[in-house]
Amino acid sequence: MKTDDIRELERIAARCRQNVLRMVRANGSGHLGPAYSCIDIVTALYFHAMNIDPQNPKKEDRDIFILSAGHKGMAQYAVLAEAGFFDKSLLDTFGHFKSPLPGHPDMHKLPGIEASTGSLGHGMNIACGVALGKRQDGLGSRVFVIVGDGELAEGSNWEAAAIAAHYRLDNLVLFLDHNGLQISGKTKDVMSFEPIAKHFEGFGWAAREIDGNNMAEIVAAIDSVPFEKGKPSLIVANTIKGKGFSRAENQVGYHYWNPSAEEMALAEKELEDLLMGMRT
């Protein structure tokens, strides 16, 4: 399943975006903008980087992915389904009563989900605990986390930033999904934590900045972690909220999307065209 082929990873990401639309259709709405902004990263993690086995999702030496920004859950469901962790028909239950795919992921409901997130500012501390435990076990496993840039305002993230550096957790990789938008507007206007990389470096992290919707850059960054031995790695991924549906791109109004049938058809058509163009 794992591949180094950038074009193939891009095709998978496009299919994952189709999976997201399938879930939005099932539920009538969903966090499209946040899911689309990080889905290239999640695709690269599962299809290129992580030591995981969809047939044995709890294997002891696995790498662990924690989606701290749990409202981006459709991105993870889409990728898990594409990777074969569960049958794709479950995507049609997204958001339904007793579905294993609630709006925010629940680790006890679906294979491949490692933490129940959705309330912001939880994933990083959990990830630090996992990274410490994995290191104690000497298994060489890595922990990948996605935190949103708006989410960074939760003070608990900065507690984790200190812990990861203090314990020199170079098995921990944080993707900061830096799409620049949150519910009330631009993140830099709501509450700025710029310059993000510098703040983390001040704590003792090693940081890099990439285009977080560029598969080649994502893969190159993942392939270079840890950026420095003995330091946790931060990848500031500059992304476009809603990337993959032209109407939604960089539009705060598409944070949570209630599409009309016409708009859904447009979004589907764009992905079909994109995939058609990728065939050669």
């Binding site: 939880h122 990083m124 104690q136 812990i163």
Partner: protein
């Protein structure tokens, strides 16, 4: 009554270190708090299983949950307000909702930090944790129960909250196994039942003796597990005596008293008097003065019993 006295912190530390010998998964998470929770022996013996995160309680809860993902049994210990109220949402989600095998100790519960005042009182910890589905709450009553409860907590699977003071605690009961979820009758009686939990219960035992001398027969029920509460035993006490008094070093809202009222209201309605800490921010002061102010000393309990019997 003269009991042999023990250091609660020492017991916590001894049991943790002994259990850690048997279970390599046991780790300790500290928010600048473990050495003062008696963990010195564990830290010296297993420095690589000791995680100090500094004074960051949200992180303490979250890191503990993450360690549990890697099959560890984390023991997160700090003063009661700082393992419950301060990181409540992390306790609720990371430990409770995620059903992680984390053992949380809230020491200096009640008004153990009596001279520091309400910032350091742990009077709502049980109320808060009772709101988190699936978390067991233990409030051992003496040295033997603390030893047993620590062992049972570390050996069971799932999230547990154990509250304890740190003043010297008496050894009242014989050493033995601690069964989570079970209360027991300390003394039979028919006039009224007192259901009690935690270290304050020693005053209940003393009050019951005084009352017996005056011809009042008090049934005394020990409830060292507050959640899930031993419903069968509460119902038995209600049916046997027709009236119940609860005694706890905790706000009268949300703790043992509330739990008993809930059981009685639904299954065996009888008058219930909740004796505990009134809903106010109390003054700092000497521990004994605070206990007396809340009528949680033996005389205050006896007085409350008599008033309740005469005018339920």
């Amino acid at each position: 009554m003269n009991y042999e006295m023990f250091d609660a912190k020492k017991i916590i530390g001894e049991v943790t270190a002994a259990e850690a010998d048997l279970n390599p998964g046991i780790v300790v998470v500290s928010t600048d708090s473990a050495p003062r929770t008696g963990m010195g022996e564990f830290i010296a013996k297993y420095p690589d299983r000791y995680y100090e995160v500094g004074i960051m309680e949200q992180a303490g809860a979250g890191v503990s949950a993450g360690l549990a993902t890697t099959s560890k049994t984390p023991v997160f210990c700090a003063p009661a307000p700082f393992t419950t109220a301060r990181p409540f949402e992390m306790f609720k989600i990371d430990i409770g909702y995620m059903r992680q095998n984390v053992k949380v100790i809230g020491r200096n519960c009640g008004f153990n930090y009596s001279d520091l005042g309400p910032t350091h009182f742990g009077l709502e910890d049980m109320a808060l944790v009772r709101l988190i589905p699936g978390v067991v709450i233990l409030a051992p009553m003496d040295a033997s129960q603390l030893r047993g409860a620590m062992r049972a907590m570390l050996r069971c699977e799932g999230p547990v909250y154990l509250r304890i003071g740190t003043a010297p605690i008496p050894k009242i009961f014989d050493d033995g196994d601690f069964e989570i979820g079970k209360g027991f009758v300390v003394r039979e009686g028919s006039d009224v039942a007192i259901i009690t939990t935690g270290e304050i219960s020693r005053n209940v035992f003393e009050a019951a003796e005084k009352l017996a001398a005056e011809g009042i027969n008090v049934m005394v029920v020990a409830m060292p597990t507050v959640s899930p509460i031993d419903e069968e035993l509460v119902i038995r006490a209600a049916r046997q005596t027709g009236r119940i008094i609860t005694v706890e070093e905790h706000f009268v809202v949300g703790g043992l008293g509330s739990a008993v009222c809930e059981v009685c209201a639904e299954s065996s309605p009888v008058p219930v008097k909740r004796l505990g800490v009134p809903m106010e921010f109390l003054s700092a002061g000497q521990y004994t003065d605070l206990v007396k102010h809340c009528k949680l000393d033996a005389d205050g309990i006896a007085e409350t019993v008599k008033a309740f019997i005469n005018n339920p």
